[in-house]
């Protein structure tokens, strides 16, 4: 793929760089397409099977495109004790998708993570926008805050769409 050439150029012929190379490719595309994984394997000089093995092992790698907004619910121990399952269920209901899924319009992706390291703020949810560096950590989440979070993001998208016109 043309758009990956530059991102992968530094890893050429270095089979030890599987993870960084996949991270670079995902950073560029937002996910790892079949083609992208093939490109990474070829650049590094490993088999596509080996690359797939690594991709499916780690939770960071995605095989499907993601939405414009990515909402990540922490399901670590501190967050679980403080009720993060309830937050996740509430978001699933509000957004109409399950954890690990993206909605049809590709506006939202909902996912979980093992721990953000902000456990004192449990339960924690993080939001980020695809392609925009930086993330927002929301601590002490409640179901109400979860609903407001989605509403706020929807509003923002509507505003941006209006502005674009």
């Amino acid at each position: 793929m043309k758009e990956l050439e530059e991102a992968l150029s530094t890893f050429k012929g270095n089979p030890h760089m599987t993870i960084p190379a996949l991270q670079a490719a995902q950073g560029k595309l937002g996910y790892l397409s079949r083609e992208a994984i093939g490109d990474v394997a070829q650049t590094l000089g490993i088999t596509t099977g080996e690359a797939y093995g690594v991709v499916t092992f780690y939770s960071q790698f995605r095989l499907k495109p993601v939405g414009k907004n990515i909402i990540t619910v922490c399901r670590g121990t501190a967050c679980h004790t403080m009720g993060s399952l309830g937050i996740l269920k509430e978001l699933e209901k509000t957004m109409g998708i399950h954890a690990g899924e993206t909605d049809e319009k590709q506006e939202f992706t909902l996912q979980t993570i093992a721990c953000f390291g902000a456990c004192a703020r449990a339960p924690v949810t993080v939001t980020e926008e695809l392609g925009i560096p930086g993330r927002k950590v929301h601590g002490y989440m409640t179901k109400m805050k979860a609903r407001d979070l989605v509403d706020g993001l929807k509003e923002k998208m509507t505003e941006e769409a209006a502005e674009a016109k």
Partner: protein, 619 residues
């Protein structure tokens, strides 16, 4: 040799002077705690407000950022330094309060009503750090710089005696460095508690001209975040420790493995590496000693098992991170088959202090078997959330009640979970146990990396156990059958019990499964996985019986076993719950007691969260 010494101290001396000035300048200084937890609580907005206010009024006040001082509960925290007077911490700050604080600072005054404590000097009506319950029993050794210096500034690190240890070590023989480590009694803080000096001497004596050192910053234990805090708050200490380790074993290349989830920690470590290189504290001919050492950062991609040393090594090599049977240990054959020392972040951050202050100083703290201090993340149902560093030998009760301030909302303590997914749940009757490796293991838990999650009477022990098995089921790499199949089966049984479909003989099956997984798994993931199950079966069997026999969840957590009701005594008829119920299951008129239709109720808990009067009862 003398010439070398002079140029060595030359660099350090000028940086030290610079650092002393920036820590305690001639003008007043306001510092905002901007570690991950502070930022999550709005520290960025506070920093901006302070900068704006200082600029607008053209004040002679320095504005800086630091990392986490541990008391996460009262973030955002702001420190104000008034030269010649005091250095004071302020808690739960807001942008508005910060603006007022700027004005007070300009007048050379403290704001007593928002103050948490003083960390230097005195101020009337404000307690000293050592006097407030959260800090009184703590002993800051590894975290001594966290929240006290700018983590980006090598000068401030040096001003607080940073790099004296490396300087000293480079003047010692490598065997002497290792002897010092062995004498100190330091044991690895990553979980296994292996003596650090011994590990280094294995690698030092292993044949091979290329050797490696690795800093394990994977911190996969959910609920523990001390390694993040140390990397964010005192990155140079980690780097100095790694450099000393490299010198001791004769390695010229190091690796730092960090998690995808910790971008700020990585940024700080990156910056530390660059600064150290700039001043000749990393790279070729360090401090003119002829010793070369370089460090590369690698980024993990989200996997618990990757924190296990052999898996981590495979991951750096670009392979699938499946743990390998040991021996051979990495110290003999590790990264690319070469002798490799792999140490945890907290372990490495302790190293410079041991070299600087001596092994005897370190071993004077702690217990017979476990020397020094350990950082714990005290989180969950606890009043004072945060990172606490305590001398080994302190009791769990002192940590939970004296430092942690007990359980919020006057609820009852039920258990403290120590050691993460590999650890166990410890009940009230064991709270007087002194904390060290051996004592926690005797309880069936482990110290692990230092996660301590407190549970109250509203936390279900069966659900907690199921939660860990869920986690381990997902994270088990699947290579060996006892771990893969055993954890899955135990998980399924636990799920049945939580759904009210448990049978009495399940408890026996669970016990058998636990022992099979423990005894026959390939790596410590499986070897320790059953601890949560074994401890809950040992200490909280009644709760299992309540689920199985009475089809009841005493903590009110397991959805299939509970019902929601309105307490007619407390309900004021405000209709709030009616509005939030997604099912339309609640009915009632304004100012009359409401009613929940059990047929429609999906037990989502929305009413419980919304009711301000605690009028929703879970049974």
């Amino acid at each position: 040799m003398e010439g070398v010494m002079t140029s060595r101290s030359g660099v350090l001396e000028s940086l030290r002077a610079e650092g002393v000035k920036s820590i305690s300048p001639d003008c007043s200084k306001i510092t905002v705690g901007m570690a991950t937890c502070g930022i999550a609580q709005g520290a960025r907005g506070i920093f901006a407000a302070i900068e704006e206010e200082v600029a607008a009024s053209k004040l002679d006040i320095a504005v800086e950022s630091t990392a986490c001082i541990g008391f996460c509960q009262v973030e955002p925290i702001v420190e104000v330094y008034l030269p010649g007077k005091s250095r004071t911490l302020y808690q739960q700050m807001t942008p508005d309060k910060s603006r007022e604080l700027v004005a007070a600072t300009a007048r050379g005054e403290v704001k007593k009503e928002w103050a948490l404590c003083t960390v230097e000097g005195t101020a009337e009506g404000i307690p000293a750090m050592k006097e407030i319950p959260f800090y009184k029993k703590q002993l800051k050794v590894v975290t001594r710089n966290c929240g006290f210096i700018s983590p980006r500034s090598i000068a401030e690190y040096i001003a607080r005696d940073g790099y004296l240890a490396l300087s000293k070590a480079l003047g010692m023989k490598s065997d002497e460095v290792i002897d010092e480590m062995s004498h100190s009694g330091l044991r690895g803080r990553g979980g296994a508690g292996f003596p650090t000096g011994k590990k280094w001497s294995f690698a030092r004596n292993a044949p091979g001209d290329q050797k490696y050192v690795i800093c394990n910053g994977d911190e996969g234990d959910p609920g523990a975040y001390m390694d993040r805090a140390v990397m964010e708050g005192d990155p140079f200490a980690v780097l100095e420790g790694l450099t000393i380790a490299a010198y001791a074993i004769g390695s010229s290349q190091g690796f730092l493995y960090t998690r995808e989830e910790y971008p700020l920690a990585r940024e700080m470590m990156d910056n530390a590496i660059e600064s150290a290189k700039k001043y000749g504290l990393l790279g070729k001919n360090i401090l003119g000693s002829g010793f070369d050492f370089d460090v590369r950062i690698t980024k993990g991609a989200g996997s618990f098992v990757c924190g296990e040393e052999t898996a981590l090594i495979a991951s750096i090599e670009g392979k699938l991170p499946n743990p390998l049977p040991r021996p051979p240990y990495p110290a003999i054959s590790g990264l690319f088959g070469k002798p490799t020392v792999i140490n945890n972040v907290e372990t490495l951050a302790t190293v410079p202090q041991i070299i600087r202050n001596g092994a005897d100083w370190f071993s004077s703290m702690g217990t017979e078997s476990t020397k020094g201090t350990k950082i714990f993340s005290l989180v969950g149902k606890i009043n004072n959330n945060g990172l606490v560093e305590v001398p080994m030998g302190i009791s769990l009760r002192e940590i939970v009640f004296d430092i942690g301030g007990g359980i919020p909302k006057g609820r009852k303590f039920k258990a403290v979970q120590s050691g993460g997914p590999s650890g166990g749940l410890i009940p009230e009757e064991c709270l007087d146990t002194p904390v060290d490796y051996e004592h926690l293991e005797a309880l069936g838990a482990i110290m692990g990396s230092g996660g301590m999650i407190v549970a109250d009477d509203k936390t279900c022990m069966v659900d907690m156990t199921k939660f860990f098995f869920d986690f381990l089921n997902y994270e088990s790499c699947g290579k060996c059958a006892p771990c893969r199949e055993g954890i899955r089966q135990a998980h399924d049984i636990l799920e049945d019990i939580c759904s009210g479909e448990g049978k009495e003989e399940d408890l026996e099956t669970l016990g058998e499964l636990a022992h099979t997984v423990k005894d026959f798994s390939l790596c410590a993931l499986g070897g320790t996985a059953p601890n949560s199950l074994l401890t809950t079966l040992r200490y909280f069997k009644d709760e299992y019986y309540a689920h199985i026999k009475d089809k009841r969840c005493p903590a009110g957590v397991c959805k299939k076993l509970i019902t929601y009701h309105v307490d007619p005594e407390k309900c004021s008829g405000c209709r709030v719950c009616i509005k939030v119920c997604p099912q339309g299951a609640i009915s009632g008129e304004l100012k009359k007691v409401h009613l929940i239709d059990q047929e429609k109720c999906i037990k989502c808990g929305a009413c419980l969260e919304a009711c301000k009067l605690d009028a929703i009862i879970v049974e």
